[in-house]
Subunit: 142 residues, 4 copies
């Protein structure tokens, strides 16, 4: 399959830093969520619409490595890659860059998601949301 | 009406302090929510059950004054008072105490809530949830 | 004094909505903080720089009224106004607009801040940070 | 080495659930932090004291698998295990149990930490904080 990557920029919010003065580790997961939101929008599949239609993407697994600290007001670039896709699952990879001074890779991670319905029951996205499946398949060329 | 007060204790979480090293101001609102949760449980009206039954209490207004800083791991006591009640609204007051050393009042505030249904439409709690109304009326003696 | 207003736009993050499906009330305070950050940057006084120089602005008091719910992915506009200024204090007002459909005022609020040093001791900003004071005085015309 | 496990209980806070009605995935990392805080306190090494003394434990890596959803007000038990220790690093494992009905494992994960000083420079804990090292070594029997 083809990998597809989207880019989103933000600044570290005041409340995202902790008393060490650096971004608290759980907040990178919020940025991953932002990265997914913006990538799915770019792909013509806004997640807010998917959820209203009854297609949810809860997280099964997350991994993150922290490579360089970031701090309040730092400019950040998140690269989000749709890395794997099946009829029941979808996976993303993330690279978080610090854009001040010489660019640095601040963190990298991944999330794995299940396709589920409103009642959190696993579903076959090809069967229950054929248009979403077609769009995704076209994009990744599978 | 009678005022009813409940007490809840917690320690400041690591992620609740900001880069000044003190609790970030919005987190006191999370503590207010905890205080309400525990007071309603004490009163025999657990909010999780109310929500499942279709009675929601969104916030219409909040106010908070910050009197002394608190920091990571500080022991905190929240006193939550059911301060006003009508068929369409409910109000709470909060006092947040720092329990290290000589006790200090760290913050005080209030929230005002509407009774609404699942679709966020205002409701008359006496009409739509008579048992909840009866319990609340008995408690405050109105 | 002259009032000065800045504008900042964002989308509601996934993790900012609660299980009612609407933005949790404490998150509006994070948006107020964002509004202040962007207004101070516009005024040539980035808060990250002020903090590094030893000038902190802890919140003394916050007030917020919630007028219309907002939800995940909604486009939001925050208008932040520098509303009062003295040698020891600074106050802001906020208006949060929902920009989908016919624009609606979703919330309005205010915060009051003290000028303090790194040790959270109150300071006279005119005396200890004369350049900051001069810039602020010019802006508000006081 | 011996593994050491501590137990901490909490209820899911209202603001920890997202619009799916289940605990948002990043909040499990806050619970991991709570688990570490309470385990270190049990071991006679309160993290707040370590930080004041200049010994910080930033996260290098985190991993979490989500096995069963949890929701607002659910009673949760976190088991935190000190899983590895060297002079420059420390690792923890976590198991998060849902305690309503028949107990379920809701999530499991791990974090890896560096020993650093106030300036986030890596340090040899045996050399710079010999008492902390001695206490930890005794505990894990290394």
């Amino acid at each position: 399959m083809r990998e597809i990557t989207g880019v989103h920029r933000l600044r570290v919010r005041y409340n995202e830093a902790d008393s060490m003065g650096v971004t608290y580790y759980a907040n990178y997961l919020n940025w991953f969520t932002l990265g997914r939101t913006e990538l799915l929008r770019d792909l013509g599949l806004p997640y807010a619409q998917l959820e209203r239609a009854g297609l949810l993407l809860p997280v099964l697994e997350v991994h993150c490595r922290y490579l360089a600290p970031t701090a309040y007001d730092d400019p950040i670039r998140i690269e989000t890659t749709l890395a794997n896709l099946s009829r029941t699952r979808m996976g993303f990879r993330y690279r978080v860059y610090l854009e001040t001074g010489p660019e640095r890779l601040a963190a990298e991670g991944s999330t794995e998601h299940a396709f589920v319905d409103r009642h959190l029951r696993p579903i076959d996205v090809k069967k229950h949301f054929p248009e979403v499946w077609q769009r995704l398949s076209e994009l990744v060329g599978s």
